[in-house]
């Protein structure tokens, strides 16, 4: 007798297959077996179904977050792949992508395999990883892209930093032409950014803090666009934050360049005014910008310009964040409340409907990194998330499964509670 | 419900007579050739000091300088919760040297003695008078320190919880002493 899951009566939203209707989903042996109305409980003779009643709930492909930091190897007190992936499934994510700026940096096939192994041991979400573009993230010598790609790295980035030298970036893009990979960039010109710790503007002036000019992001983005015009490699702009960046991407896409981009929840919800009390929970890179940037990003989402919503989950210890604003590390750890935040930023003000939001959290990000996920297609591995879209709840950082608490959303009232997260047919999280 | 009434215990004529009396006693006490000056404690003591000063000047036939002393910095209750009032630091205006002088320290009301203690500490930091004598318009019960007036005008036995307010034309528009 095989075992399976039968998820009944939910509103199934599967943009990859153009589906948005009330029907049932059956999972057998970890594979999606049927997606149709009225699947009988004892429909198959060879299968015992555990039934999940999803009335009033949404049933969607497992959510995907293509930008998280799990700090392993090296900073395990901040987060591990185990705690991070536990946080992921609690938040409805069945696949996440780690960034390589660990210690040591993820820059060869053993490092990639290490991450995969740790993830398997944890048995929570799927954990993918990007590899470094340059050795040690130093921006000088290329890292072993080929071996890493073979080992399963889903892309390459020097995230945490951007590749400063245009010659090195050009070389990286040319080299990547050999492989079918995406090169992702944390767009930041270090010399323009200087010692900035928040957006450069009126707020940084009156708070007496050095600022990061939006030009630091836009200058690198513009430069990379010129390089892609020549090399035509798939390029992904990470955590874009300014209205100027939106326009550059719009023009690049209009020109048919193979470009994608992602936006983080804080850039859709918060502005630089939040730094007024020097609360380091608002210190993040790229920094919180102005209202017009938030509006431009929301509009970009509405226009379909954005390819993924990605949390840029950046956990830090309380002792690290309990410093004066100038000295504290950058980062917001919001993986565990991301869904509620996206709903607040995009569904509540009517910028997206549910299928639109789910699309940005399933099929689209899967396409950016080229994984066969984000779908409830028949025969696909069963990664499914069941969401209660209506019940309001308060974000409580003390209940996070993540090790870190550096999150400015504590106490926020949001909707979108994750009821169940199913990975490969196994319920790996239940509310 | 009972309504506290404000009672006038001294009117302007009575006040005038008391000041006359105080001046008289000072004059008979202090040798004519003394280097004498009055110093009033802010903020009503200064008015009284001014009045005494001019009477003494008339009698002695020479100028009797008058100064104003702000005692805020010397209060002993600065570190206690203040409730409604909060003392503001004002200036001390003493345009003469107090060394070697006979100083008549003047205040409107003497009750606990703490203001006088503060005034003496303030004076000592300004110089070394030959002698300091205290003259007050109203002398109440309720000393908390061993301090007495050399020249007291009106002796009041008002209960400690009552407020005795001295008002002068120069500062309040009218001369009177009220109890509430």
């Amino acid at each position: 007798m095989n075992s399976g899951l039968l998820i009944k009566n939910g509103r199934v939203i599967d943009p990859a297959n153009g589906l948005d209707q009330k029907c049932d989903v059956s999972i057998v042996e970890g594979i999606i077996a049927e997606v149709r109305e009225k699947i009988a409980d004892r429909g198959r003779r060879d299968c015992n179904f555990a039934v999940i009643d999803a009335s009033g709930k949404l049933v969607v492909p497992g959510l995907i977050d293509i930008h998280v930091h799990f700090r392993e190897p090296g900073d395990e007190e901040e987060e591990t792949i185990a705690s991070g992936s536990a946080a992921a499934v609690a938040a409805g994510f069945t696949s996440v992508v780690c960034m390589p700026n660990t210690s040591p940096v993820i820059q060869n096939e053993t490092d990639v395999e290490y991450v995969h192994r740790k993830a398997r041991q944890a048995r929570k979400s799927h954990v993918y990883t990007m590899g470094a573009i340059t050795k040690g993230l130093e921006g000088i010598e290329l890292a072993e892209m080929g071996f890493m790609a073979q080992a399963g790295a889903v892309g390459f980035t020097d995230d945490g930093r951007g590749v400063q030298d245009p010659a090195v970036m050009l070389r990286a893009l040319k080299y990547a032409t050999m492989f079918d990979v995406v090169i992702a960039q944390h767009c930041q010109d270090d010399r323009i950014a200087g010692k900035g710790v928040m957006n450069a503007g009126y707020q940084s002036t009156i708070l007496g803090l050095p600022g990061i000019d939006p030009l630091a992001e836009e200058a690198i983005l513009w430069r990379d666009i010129q390089l892609i015009k020549k090399t035509k490699v798939r390029y992904h702009a990470q955590h874009i934050s300014t209205a100027g960046a939106v326009e550059l991407i719009r023009a690049a896409k209009n020109d048919g360049l193979p470009m994608t981009c992602e936006v983080a929840p804080h850039h859709l919800l918060l502005t630089e005014e939040c730094c007024d009390e020097y609360d380091t929970n608002f210190k993040v890179n790229p920094p919180l910008r102005g209202q017009k940037d938030v509006d431009a990003l929301r509009q970009a989402v509405a226009d379909g310009l954005v390819d993924a919503l990605a949390s840029d989950h950046a956990p830090h210890l309380q002792s690290e964040k309990e410093l004066e604003f100038l000295a504290a590390p950058f980062g917001i750890a919001s993986l565990e409340c991301a869904l509620g935040l996206y709903i607040k930023a995009l569904i509540k003000p009517g910028i997206l409907d549910w299928p639109g939001l789910i699309h940005l959290m399933t099929e689209k990000p899967a396409k950016v990194i080229g994984i066969d996920k984000g779908t409830l297609g028949i025969g696909k591995r069963a990664d499914v998330t069941v969401i209660d879209p209506e019940t309001e709840y308060k974000i409580d950082v003390d209940k996070f499964r993540s090790k870190s608490r550096n999150c400015p959303y504590h106490g926020w009232t949001v909707k979108g509670k994750v009821e169940k997260t199913i990975v490969g047919g196994e319920i790996r999280f239940e509310a | 419900m009972y309504w506290e009434k404000m009672k006038v215990i001294l009117n302007c004529t009575q006040i005038e007579r008391i000041i006359e009396d105080l001046a008289g006693r000072i004059i008979s006490d202090v040798p004519a050739h003394s280097d004498i000056a009055t110093i009033g404690v802010r903020s009503r003591g200064e008015v009284l000091a001014q009045r005494l000063s001019s009477r003494l000047a008339d009698e002695f036939g020479k100028d009797v300088p008058c100064g104003i002393l702000d005692i805020t910095l010397y209060r002993d209750d600065l570190n206690l919760p203040q409730g409604v009032g909060q003392p503001q630091v004002r200036t001390t205006e003493i345009g003469f040297d107090i060394d070697g002088k006979v100083i008549i320290l003047v205040d409107d009301v003497l009750q606990t003695g703490r203001s006088t203690r503060a005034a003496m500490d303030a004076l000592i930091d300004l110089g070394r008078p030959m002698v300091v004598k205290l003259a007050v318009l109203v002398d109440r019960l309720g000393r908390e320190l061993p301090i007495q007036a050399d020249y007291s005008g009106y002796k009041s036995d008002a209960a400690a919880d009552k407020l005795v307010q001295v008002r002068f034309v120069e500062s309040d528009g009218k001369d009177e002493v009220v109890i509430e």
Binding site: G194, K195, A200, G201, Y202, S204, T205, I206, L207, G208, L209, G211, D213, E277, Y278, S319, E322, L323, E324, F325, L326, A327 | D70, T72, L73, Y74, R75, L78, N79, L80, P81, Q82, Q86, Q88, V89, R90, T91, T92, D121, I124, D125, L126, G127
Partner: protein, 311 residues
């Protein structure tokens, strides 16, 4: 009005009335410094800590003397003489001091918001003696005190602040205090030394000192701080002095009764010529004297406010 603040972190959040109250209180304290017994007892038994993470003899001494004049006990704590070099955080440092029983912390730090951060985490009163390029409130206060003492009021005065405004906490504190008291402020300097979005501040901005100097009643020359400048915002000292230095020649275009100010220490020959710094319009030394009275007033007031708490 009643003074209720147990911290002085900046002038941005003070009302004009509160600023006036501090200045009025300072008048009462000026006398303590000029008479023979230069002490008064209000802070007797209180412990004041000078917590300085940045070099500064001038401000530190001014606060030490002010605390002394109020009969307080002082602990001097400079970065070199502590475990900060071993990596102790700002918070740990302050908490360790607090454990010894202190009442007031005067803190100077290179991070904007450092004093605010401390005030939220320790029980003592906190006075900001300069945090990054955010504010230097007692400097702002003594600057307006000096102007008010000579000119009577700041209402309607035109004031220029010249120099590296982008990195100047003095410029910011001055801006807040002066505009709240009714003055019209102009920042003067090269575009590379103007703060981000200066057009949103309550000041005018000019890149031409010659035009501004003839119109103003007060001119405050900021020190060009080599140690703070990253990259080079102007090509040479020579060129900077030529365009933005207060020379005797430039002074000829100024009003006869213009006040020349400088927070010190002066770079003679760079932002200001010796002749001008020592000249008859200069009130630079008065600023120092007034600084003492202002700091005494601030120490007195925050201490009093702390006593009001029924903690």
């Amino acid at each position: 009005m009643k003074w209720h603040r147990k911290h002085l972190l900046g002038l941005r959040e003070l009302s004009a009335e509160e600023i006036g109250y501090i200045l009025d209180t300072a008048v009462g304290f000026e006398q303590v410094s000029t008479r023979s017994v230069k002490k008064a007892p209000p802070l007797r038994g209180k412990v004041v800590v000078n917590l300085f993470f940045e070099d500064s003899t001038r401000t530190r001494n001014s606060f030490a003397l002010a605390a002394n004049r109020l009969s307080a006990d002082i602990i001097e704590f400079t970065k070199k003489s502590s475990s900060v070099s071993k990596g102790e955080t700002l918070l740990d440092t302050a908490r360790n001091l607090e454990a010894m029983g202190i009442d007031i912390v005067v803190v100077r730090h290179n991070a904007g918001g450092a004093s605010r951060f401390l005030s939220r985490n320790i029980k003592a009163c906190v006075i900001n003696a300069g945090d990054g390029f955010c504010e230097h409130p007692t400097q702002g206060l003594l600057d307006v005190y000096t102007i008010r003492k000579i000119k009577g009021t700041l209402d309607g005065l035109k004031i220029a602040i010249v120099g590296d405004v982008a990195h100047s906490r003095v410029a910011r504190s001055d801006m807040w205090a002066m505009t709240k008291l009714g003055a019209e402020v102009t920042f003067v300097g090269p575009p590379t030394l103007m703060p981000a979005q200066a057009e949103r501040l309550p000041v005018k901005v000019s890149y031409c000192l010659d035009e501004v100097v003839e119109k103003v009643d007060v001119i405050n020359m900021l020190r060009i701080q080599f140690e703070r400048l990253g990259g080079n915002p102007f090509p040479s000292i020579r060129e900077y002095s030529h365009y933005f230095g207060l020379t005797a020649e430039r002074m000829k275009r100024a009003k006869g009764d213009i006040l020349v100010m400088h927070p010190g220490p002066i770079n003679r020959g760079l932002e200001i010529e010796s002749e001008v710094a020592d000249g008859r319009n200069s009130v630079i030394l008065e600023q120092v004297t007034n600084g003492l009275a202002v700091r005494m007033a601030v120490l007195f007031l925050v201490n009093q406010a702390a006593a009001q708490r029924i903690d």
